[in-house]
């Protein structure tokens, strides 16, 4: 049993490293992604300038903070799989072909296995597709990036939690393939929700009234809006930071747990089909 635990302790980091290396091999695709994120960054930045010129302080941000929002969003987009991408299509394909049965026989936990692989992927994309667009944005526009190292550290923790929440949601989306044999429809709907409710299109603090209050407590807020506010210093003080990270951790636990329940329901279904 102890041996098993030791093996597992080495196994998941190895899976994560594999996920990292796998995406590192797509050099051209990464360069193309950096180009795309930079182009979109410029376009959105100009529209935000027009908007914040009209309404300074909109959503509680000044113009430099709004521009920071744009460029950091572009940097997190691929890592947090905010507009789709990631592993869920592959999981669905393995479910559709029945290969998932082999995965279930492995002496590894299915959910942790995919979490490790996805964090590896996200880690690469954070470096490969995250840094350069942000540098381009910082060179072209006045950004409100913090100088306080503690703030950056909190931001990185918040990003890690964002990646876990993003994974947990997409894992459930992937598992839906056990019931719907073709996942394309549910994937599109999941992407719709992620783009709109994460703050990708517009900071959630700009959403009006009660609708705005609602979108800020949904799990998608943990994927972009919260890390962004941590970076911009909107959650000042130890209490504020703890509340922000706690909100993310809470959603991560709830969603991972729900995914686990869904997984056990799904795997019972595999046995029925196999017999």
């Amino acid at each position: 049993m102890q041996n098993g635990a030791l093996r597992a302790a080495g196994l998941y980091p190895a899976v994560a490293a594999g996920g990292f290396r796998r995406y590192a091999t797509y050099g051209t695709a990464t360069a193309a992604g950096v180009f795309t994120n930079t182009v979109f960054g410029f376009i959105v930045a100009y529209t935000y300038i027009a908007l914040w010129d009209e309404r300074p302080g909109l959503g509680g941000y000044d113009q430099a903070q709004a521009l920071t929002f744009v460029w950091v969003s572009q940097s997190l987009l691929a890592a947090a799989a905010l507009i789709g991408g990631g592993f869920q299509e592959e999981l669905q394909e393995r479910i559709r072909t029945g290969d998932v049965a082999v995965d279930l026989y492995r002496p590894a936990d299915l959910q942790l296995w995919w979490l490790a692989a996805d964090l590896g992927r996200a880690g690469f994309q954070l470096l490969g597709r995250g840094v350069l667009p942000l540098v381009a944005g910082a060179l072209a526009f006045p950004l409100a990036l913090p100088v306080d190292p503690v703030r950056w550290l909190l931001f990185l923790v918040s990003v890690l939690l964002a990646l876990v929440v993003s994974f947990a949601l997409r894992y459930m989306v992937g598992l839906v393939a056990f019931w719907l044999m073709d996942g394309a429809g549910i994937n599109v709907m999941a992407t719709v929700a992620s783009i709109f409710f994460s703050g990708m299109l517009l900071p959630l603090t700009v959403f009006p009234g009660g609708f705005g209050e609602l979108v800020r407590i949904l799990p998608w807020a943990a994927m972009l809006q919260v890390p962004m506010d941590v970076l911009l210093g909107e959650h000042a003080g130890a209490g504020g930071a703890a509340a922000a990270l706690g909100f993310q951790a809470g959603w991560a636990l709830v969603l991972l747990g729900t995914g686990r329940l869904l997984q056990s329901a799904a795997t019972r279904k595999v046995v029925v089909q196999g017999g």
């Binding site: 797509y26 051209t28 695709a29 360069a31 193309a32 992604g33 180009f35 795309t36 182009v39 979109f40 410029f42 376009i43 959105v44 100009y46 529209t47 300038i49 027009a50 908007l51 009209e54 309404r55 909109l58 719907l180 044999m181 073709d182 996942g183 394309a184 429809g185 549910i186 599109v188 709907m189 992407t191 719709v192 783009i195 709109f196 299109l201 517009l202 700009v206 959403f207 009006p208």
Partner: protein, 267 residues
């Protein structure tokens, strides 16, 4: 040309039949595609809950820009959108099987995994544009009325040329579908906002280098009776079909050059 169209039609028919096998999924994806693109407009709508004008343009004016570019891109995406998969096909070697078939490769690549769900984007674009035309207080002339559908079709052709050029680029670059996306999807994101929002250099680039401004900015500015920020005369609004025709020349030359340079991966 004719065999290309015939081949295209056959492959498209096959993919449509295949799509219809999972009917629930088709309905969901088509609806989702419409919703996903409509959300861009919802974001603009939310912006307008805080401001009266953006770059000097009011909401129905932006809706005209948004809807026309969305419909154009949707149309180009439906007919040619999957050309961006060519990079993946070069990488896994499956382009080779296309080369030995008696149908032009471009027709095969364009029809590859034809996605009827893209009707969703076209539908919502036309819908928003319809609302704009209904709401706008425009002094309609025959020329302006004709210009609206011409703008959508010529815009689709310009996006189509960009897609073919992007596919040709992938012969050289390998898997770089995203570069193409930044001109098509990125271009459309830009064109849904008024040109007054953007820097002059950017406007010059998308007017004279990659002529995206002819997709909808120039025709729509004319319909709305607004001057072009670069000072171009009003009649350029009618040049979109010509521009669409002209940009297909470099795109098709690039496609041919790309095809000739192709070396199979051998797998």
């Amino acid at each position: 040309m004719l065999e290309g169209l015939r081949g295209y039609r056959l492959i498209v028919g096959m993919w449509i039949r295949s799509t219809m096998t999972y009917r629930t999924s088709f309905v969901l994806t088509t609806f989702g595609q419409a919703a996903i693109t409509l959300l861009d407009f919802v974001a603009i709508y939310i912006m307008f809950s805080h401001v009266d004008a953006l770059g000097g343009f009011v909401l129905p004016e932006i809706a005209l820009l948004y809807g026309s570019c969305s419909a154009s891109l949707g149309l180009a995406d439906l007919l040619l959108g999957n050309t961006d998969r060519i990079g993946a096909r070069i990488r896994d070697g499956s382009l080779d099987t296309m080369l030995v078939r008696p149908v032009p490769v471009l027709a095969q690549v364009a029809a590859d995994r034809f996605a009827l769900r893209r009707l969703g984007r076209i539908g919502q674009g036309v819908g928003v544009m319809g609302w704009a035309v209904w709401t706008l207080d425009v002094d309609w002339t025959v020329g302006k009325v004709l210009l609206v559908p011409v703008m959508v079709l010529a815009g689709a052709a310009i996006f189509g040329a960009v897609m073919v050029a992007g596919a040709a680029f992938q012969f050289v670059s390998g898997d770089a579908a995203e570069v193409q996306n930044s001109f098509t999807y990125g271009g459309c994101t830009m064109l849904q906002y008024p040109p007054t929002v953007f820097a002059k250099d950017l406007l010059r680039g998308v007017t004279f280098i990659v002529p995206l401004a002819f997709v909808n900015w120039l025709p729509a500015l004319y319909v709305l009776g607004r001057p072009d920020p670069l000072g171009l005369p009003g009649w350029v609004a009618y040049l979109s079909p010509l521009v669409a025709f002209v940009v297909f020349l470099p795109a098709s030359l690039a496609w041919r050059a790309g095809g000739r340079s192709y070396r199979s991966t051998g797998s």
